[in-house]
């Protein structure tokens, strides 16, 4: 049976504003699932809180719409407990880099085999337009009325620096490329991080589709995603050009590979034997 994107579509209609970048992500995600012909009962989409974190509710797969900032540890728990399940963690930049920021480096360095898609709109949309950890310096919002004076986090550079074995950037205005990137992220063995530039059409009047469309450029054809330093350098280009594509990719033992090795090496024991061995 060959599945189509419609097989992953849930009963609920997305609650996003018309034109929201997250629609592009949802479409690309369903396209990617279909291309990989994944069983919807074998997918768990885990999110936190925010506009983009509503995504699991619009799919027909398993999902956890959890707490603000906790998507990554919940997603890791799902994967560790049930490694056969395809785990896709989704959310916004606030979820990933503000309230949930403490979890990100550890998920990356553990190299647990899951995909983390962060929809970056550089603003807090659900709470109506406050400054975000990815907002530019001088960016004025209702909660930064004199302009933002904190340096923005660069998601891809951050992910690479803390040990992600796959780091990519896409744009929700380019669904075909985004589908390819999601397929690459899901098929990557290990922690795959994908930043999606996903404009907020309601509250961010600076970082609009138009703003990004003029800057977004695929990484040069000759670019090789195997050099960490180079990858971070390219990820940080933000002025006239913003690169999309796979910045970094590395083959490495996953957390589960380590666990499997340990399990092969230990002497199995029944719970009863374990109790009786205490003396």
């Amino acid at each position: 049976m060959v599945r189509t994107a419609l097989d992953y579509k849930g009963k609920l209609k997305p609650t996003w504003c018309p034109g929201c970048g997250d629609f592009g992500v949802l479409t690309a995600l369903f396209n990617a699932f279909a291309r990989l012909d994944l069983d919807p009962n074998n997918i768990a989409i885990v999110s936190g809180i925010g506009c983009s974190s509503r995504l699991p509710g619009f799919a027909s797969t398993y999902g956890v719409h959890s707490l603000h900032g906790r998507a990554l540890p919940i997603g890791q728990g799902v994967k560790l407990a049930n490694p056969e399940v395809e785990v896709v963690v989704v959310g916004g930049d606030g979820d990933a880099f503000a309230i949930g920021g403490g979890h990100f480096p550890h998920a990356a360095r553990r190299n647990i085999d899951l995909t983390y898609i962060v929809m970056n709109n550089r603003i807090y949309g659900l709470t109506k337009g406050q400054v975000a950890p990815t907002s530019d310096v001088n960016f004025r919002t209702v909660s930064s009325p004199y302009g933002n004076f904190e340096e923005p986090i660069n998601p891809v550079a951050f992910a690479i620096s803390v040990g992600a074995t796959f780091a990519a950037r896409g744009f929700s205005g380019k669904v075909d490329q985004l589908t390819d990137l999601i397929v690459a992220a899901i098929t990557h063995r290990g922690f795959a991080f994908l930043e999606v530039i996903s404009p907020c059409v309601t509250f961010n009047k600076v970082h609009t589709y138009k703003y990004f469309q003029e800057k977004v450029t695929p990484l040069p054809a000759e670019y090789q995603p195997d050099d960490r330093t180079k990858a971070i350098e390219m990820a940080q280009v933000m002025q006239d050009v913003i690169y999309t594509g796979i910045f970094y990719r590395q083959e490495k033992l996953t957390y589960h590979d380590w666990i499997s090795k340990i399990m092969e090496g230990v002497r199995p024991v029944t719970p009863k034997e374990l109790v009786l061995s205490q003396k």
């Binding site: 009962n41 509710g57 959890s66 994967k79 403490g102 979890h103 024991v269 109790v275």
Partner: protein, 571 residues
């Protein structure tokens, strides 16, 4: 058989291996078929500060580590100064004359031993002073040498043959010195008897193994005193039973991972102490709202804030019962002794699976590191429950994960199998669709709370003993059991035994059992190791009577005589 009941206390500088020495003595005594019961106190720092280990060994059941000691080993002056007043009349003081100057006391037997000198010059390893001390005690009190050697071999075998040889030599040096230089007394003797197989276990180990026995196959934790050894044991043993354990970045991640693992179909647990429980508060609400079974162990210590990391307290009851915002049903249970830690952990998993709610198990520091001899469990009689899982037929008929039912339960879908649904922290309708409709919120809250009824009706949620006719009662919870038993045993001998009720299920409180107990009571004493009288508050709120609180701000467990004194006041 002659009655044996000895209390040994060792005090000295933290880092001198006092706890290790105490544990070796304890395990050897337990293997020689004695009932053992230990208590330890140590500073939070790895080295520096005062450290103390107490072991009581007897050939009859014991319920506390004992109030007064028969044998005091003082490794430095501070240990002597702090503890000499706890020595019984006629008790024995073992000390190193180089560092301890005892009072001139005729009511004590003084055994000076050059412990440091023996370790330094005869073993040629100063760090074996603790084992030399064990050797001296072994000779003086006839603790079987073969059992001691067995325990030392297990303990140090993995550290290389040189260290093991030094420690075995240290044991012999200590024994030999005592044999040659100390006149033997016939009182205070343990000796050895051969008996049935026993299990010697600490409260934390009992929790870890109870979890494994209950079917827990996922554990996530963050190191925190006094819960850390649950993490350590499960990091080691979980792969052997085919499960996964992980040390994570903080307690929030620990509970989040456990919830994720349970959503994915595995029985899952985390273990922490008060500070960690505070961090987990929001996620407790999430597990309750999304109806995901999960077990959270809180090995309580003195609070608030960082509080007294290495000292015991029962002050997290309010947080366990009420913590997390919103109307948030959860189950809270508390073991009363080390053996009960094993059974209540199994119970905790059963209730989590049965109610699809978070379950908090309240242990405490005094249980956590105490070794006790326990009977081999009757494995066939232990019931292990599993969650309801949705069948493909039910899915085909139109499955709603959160449909409102009479008892509040619906089977769970498990990723990888049919039954896909969204677990949600937002209020939702039967299908899991977000809903802010006040009517939906009303019925869904009722549904979630109804599941608590499923926890209330087991017979083992309380423990009652004593004279049911008595108009004086004691209601308590957790680790005060030992001290209360000591007190009521003495009163029983005098024909003045009160009625005692231990509440093991603290949320929801077992209404029927408590009401039955209160029927003929005029006075009810509620001892708890907390300042604010947390169980007293709950009892007053739910059962409309005025308990007589007996509170200790914490830092140490109750002694039997303190409970006895209070009962005598009330009688």
């Amino acid at each position: 058989m002659e009655k044996v009941d000895l209390v040994v206390r060792i005090g000295g500088e933290s880092g001198e291996g006092i706890i290790v020495a105490g544990e070796i003595l304890t395990l050897a005594c337990a293997r020689a078929s004695f009932e053992v019961y230990t208590y330890r106190a140590y500073p939070a720092e790895v080295r520096g500060g005062h450290s103390m280990f107490q072991m009581r060994a007897a050939n009859a059941p014991i319920f506390s580590a004992g109030d007064l000691v028969d044998i005091l080993v003082a490794l430095n002056q501070e240990a002597y100064d702090r503890h000499y007043s706890t020595l019984k009349k006629g008790g024995v003081l073992v000390y190193d004359p180089e560092s301890v100057k005892p009072h001139d006391r005729e009511d004590l037997i003084l055994y000076p031993c050059p412990l440091k000198d023996l370790a330094l010059n005869q073993v040629q390893a100063i760090q074996t002073k603790n084992i030399v001390t064990v050797g001296v005690l072994a000779e003086l009190f006839s603790i079987p040498q073969d059992k001691l050697e067995e325990v030392i071999q297990e303990r140090f075998g993995s550290k290389g043959s040189q260290i093991l040889e030094k420690d075995l030599l240290a044991l012999k040096v200590g024994m030999e010195y005592a044999r040659q230089n100390i006149p033997k007394r016939e009182n205070l003797k343990l000796g050895g008897t051969e008996g049935e197989t026993r299990i010697v276990i600490s409260g934390n180990a009992a929790i870890a193994l109870g979890a494994v026995y209950a079917g827990c196959r996922f554990f996530a934790g963050y190191p925190i005193t006094p819960a850390t050894d649950i993490l350590e044991i499960l990091m080691k043993e979980m792969p052997r039973v085919g499960g996964v354990s992980i040390q994570v970045e903080d307690e929030i991640s620990a509970l989040a991972m456990a919830i994720g693992a349970s959503f994915a179909g595995k029985k899952a647990m985390t273990a922490t102490s008060g500070p960690g429980l505070s961090l987990m508060s929001e996620l407790i609400g999430f597990a309750s709202m999304a109806e995901i079974p999960v077990v959270i162990v809180d090995v309580q210590r003195g609070g608030p804030a960082t509080g007294l990391p290495t000292k015991t307290e029962q002050s997290d009851l309010f947080h366990a019962v009420f913590g997390s915002h919103g109307d948030c049903p959860r189950v809270v249970i508390a073991p009363t002794n080390v053996e009960d830690c094993f059974y209540q952990t199994i119970k905790g998993f059963n209730l989590a699976e049965r109610t699809q709610l978070p379950v908090i198990i309240l242990s405490d520091q005094s249980l956590s590191h105490r070794y006790e001899t326990i009977s081999v469990p009757d494995f066939d009689s232990i019931k292990v429950e599993d969650r309801l899982i949705v069948s493909p037929e039910e899915v085909a008929q139109g499955y709603q994960r959160y449909r409102i039912t009479e008892n509040g339960l619906m089977p769970m879908g498990i990723p990888g199998k049919p039954g896909a649904y969204i677990a949600r922290g937002l209020e939702h309708d039967g299908e899991g669709t977000p809903s802010y409709d006040p009517g939906i919120h009303q019925v869904m809250t009722e549904k979630r709370f109804r599941k608590l009824n499923l926890a209330q009706n087991d017979n083992d949620v309380t423990l009652r003993w004593g004279n049911q006719e008595s108009e004086v009662g004691i209601i308590s919870w957790g680790s005060t059991e030992g001290a209360v038993r000591e007190a009521t045993n003495q009163l029983k001998a005098r024909g003045e035994e009160p009625d005692v009720l231990y509440i093991k299920l603290l949320s929801p409180l077992p209404r029927k059992q408590i009401e039955d107990f209160l029927k003929n009571k005029k006075k009810v004493i509620v001892p708890e190791v907390n300042y604010s009288g947390q169980l007293s508050h709950l009892l007053r709120a739910y059962f409309l009577f005025d308990p007589i609180p007996l509170n200790l701000a914490g830092g140490r467990p109750f002694a039997g005589y303190e409970i006895l004194k209070k009962i005598e006041e009330v009688l």
